[in-house]
């Protein structure tokens, strides 16, 4: 069974502009995939189609063998959890506790069990001491950690992070990325799909899919994908520091091609 199977998927918001064009993509269960692309490349649209917030124009999406459609929407949302970009738009409860409880209440989890689940997941994201705090007292990074706890408490098979770190300061960003790596270690079966334009985040994944103009441009392990740096720069994406360094130095006649990390690059440059 695959986590996600997408066939010939097309979507457009307006008549004259297709955002996704006959997209095909399979994502394995338990994998960590990063989808990168510039603003407007269709990556967030794809996430919304997977969880059934938008409806495909043509083609199909299956989530663990369930076709995404109106009939299956509850099954889909039981399997997929999503954390969005804006920490302020997804805080529902008046306290951290209420916020994590919201999804559980919807699933009619009994009170006694709910308290245990809230304790467990607030501890996991390091927000146990904040359970009775109001959202306005929290930083962006803390709010996103609460959002993550709320989603993980529902025990999803697939976690989508839709630019979940884009609005955070560097410290908040680091907090979330560290937490996601920890979640993946604790639960290797969890499928993670992170949508981002943060190149460093892409390196945490085992597979990188580059979207451009509604189509898949590259698909592979991070090192393989970033070896196409000229094409990535052409579609306005960033490339990792070391890749860029080697490229620019090569233009100056300094060849560091086989330096695989920064230390090696320093050693070669200072020889």
């Amino acid at each position: 069974m695959k986590a996600i199977e997408i066939e010939n998927l097309s979507f457009s918001y307006t008549k004259d502009q297709e955002v996704l064009k006959q997209l095909n993509l399979e994502i394995e269960l338990g994998s960590h995939v990063c989808i990168i692309g510039h603003n407007g490349s269709g990556k967030s649209t794809l996430a919304k189609l997977i969880i059934g917030l938008l409806e495909a124009k043509s083609g199909s999406i299956k989530v663990m063998e369930n076709e995404v459609n109106e009939k299956n929407i509850h099954t889909i949302r039981e399997k997929v959890g999503i954390v969005f970009q804006n920490p302020d738009n997804q805080f529902i409860g008046s306290t951290v506790r209420d916020d994590i409880a919201f999804g559980l209440e919807n699933r009619r989890i009994p009170q006694e069990k709910m308290d245990d689940v809230i304790d467990e997941f607030s501890k996991k994201v390091g927000m146990f001491d904040f359970l009775d705090q109001e959202p306005s007292n929290l930083s962006g990074g803390q709010k996103q950690r609460v959002a993550l706890a709320g989603v993980l408490a529902m025990n999803p098979d697939i976690l989508i992070l839709d630019e979940a770190t884009a609005m955070l300061d560097p410290k908040g960003r680091k907090e979330i990325l560290t937490l996601v790596s920890k979640m993946k270690n604790d639960n290797p079966n969890l499928t993670i799909i992170s949508i981002t334009h943060d190149i460093e985040e892409a390196y945490l994944a085992s597979r990188v899919v580059v979207l451009s103009d509604g189509k898949i441009m590259f698909d592979g392990i991070p090192n393989e994908v970033f070896s196409h740096y000229e094409e990535l720069l052409n579609i306005d994406l960033d490339i990792p520091f070391l890749v860029r360094l080697k490229r620019e130095l090569k233009n100056k006649g300094i060849d560091l091609d086989d330096a695989f990390n920064e230390e090696e690059a320093v050693r070669r440059l200072c020889q």
């Binding site: 307006t14 510039h38 603003n39 407007g40 970009q85 930083s139 962006g140 990074g141 630019e163 884009a166 609005m167 300061d169 560097p170 410290k171 908040g172 334009h197 306005d236 994406l237 960033d238 520091f241 860029r244 360094l245 620019e248 130095l249 100056k252 300094i254 920064e262 230390e263 320093v266 050693r267 440059l269 200072c270």
Partner: protein, 286 residues
């Protein structure tokens, strides 16, 4: 003419359980025509500081001088407040959330009209501002909500630029933009600064601080801990550690090269191009 903070303190929600000294004895002068970065962690007082510049917040103690305008503690009214808000334009974080008009052009013209410009003058100013931020005429009559995230941000910023402020205050203007969008946004501010506008920018992006700013004001716990040229700032290892500031990648790499014996001048590194040029130079001398 400049922006001057004289012993400014700001008490947030006084006499409530949330009372908090958000600014604590700030002394700061920002000269006309400069490009200043305000940096520091979330909660260090950066936004509180800049919101004093157009009197959105008033000092609990001390005073702020902005051009000829005075914003002082204990004074009920700020003289010519309306004019001050035109003189010092403030762009909030995620300003695109404040778009509201039916069309792009109307949204940008709203500001000048609100400041008593005639319909025609307001529209002229709006068109000029939109062209400066790179929004094509074809989009003028669209709803702002049909635009992409980056375009919305530009329109929102044009709304402030249309007021033709002498001082432009920006609260994390590149947050959430993709790398290319952020780059274009920064060169826009550079252009505006080169035309004589004072730019004051809160940011977490140290690459932008190094590349564009003349000075960085470092804040911690409501106080200014350092005012320094960016290239000097990133040499101060102790301070970097104290406020856990992440230096630009080119700087940390250059430091490793220096530690391994390369003869590099950190002061000459502003961006990736000058960084590569410096390495090339150091290697050829050898």
């Amino acid at each position: 003419m400049s922006v001057k903070f004289e012993n400014v303190s700001f008490l947030y929600l006084p006499k409530t359980p949330f009372e908090h000294l958000a600014l604590d004895g700030i002394d700061l002068e920002i000269l006309d025509g400069t490009f200043t970065a305000i940096i520091g962690h979330t909660g260090s007082g950066k936004s509180t500081l800049v919101q004093h510049i157009n009197a959105l917040l008033r000092p609990s103690k001390g005073k702020v001088l902005v051009g000829d305008y005075v914003i002082a503690a204990n004074e009920k009214k700020v003289n010519k407040l309306q004019e001050l808000r035109k003189y010092a334009g403030l762009v909030f974080q995620f300003p695109e959330y404040q778009l509201f008009e039916e069309t792009v052009l109307k949204d940008v013209a709203f500001g000048p009209k609100n400041f008593k410009d005639s319909e025609q003058v307001a529209l002229e100013k709006a068109k000029k501002a939109l062209s400066l931020v790179g929004i094509e005429e074809a989009l003028f009559d669209k709803s702002p909500f049909e635009l992409s995230g980056g375009q919305k941000r530009r329109v929102a910023i044009a709304g402030i630029i249309a007021l033709e402020p002498q001082i432009l205050v920006l609260d994390e203007p590149t947050a959430g933009l993709d790398p290319q969008g952020a780059k274009e946004m920064m060169s826009l501010f550079k252009t505006i600064n080169e035309r004589g506008t004072t730019v004051i920018m809160i940011t977490h992006d140290m690459d932008n601080v190094l590349k564009y700013c003349d000075r960085a004001v470092v804040m911690k716990d409501g106080k200014i801990v350092k005012i320094e040229q960016p290239s000097e700032l990133f040499k101060d290892e102790e301070l970097l550690k104290e406020i856990s500031l992440e230096e630009p990648h080119i700087i940390s790499f250059a430091k490793k090269l220096i530690a391994s014996g390369m003869n590099l001048e950190l002061n000459d590194i502003k961006d990736f191009d000058s960084f590569i040029a410096q390495i090339g130079k150091a290697r050829s001398v050898k």
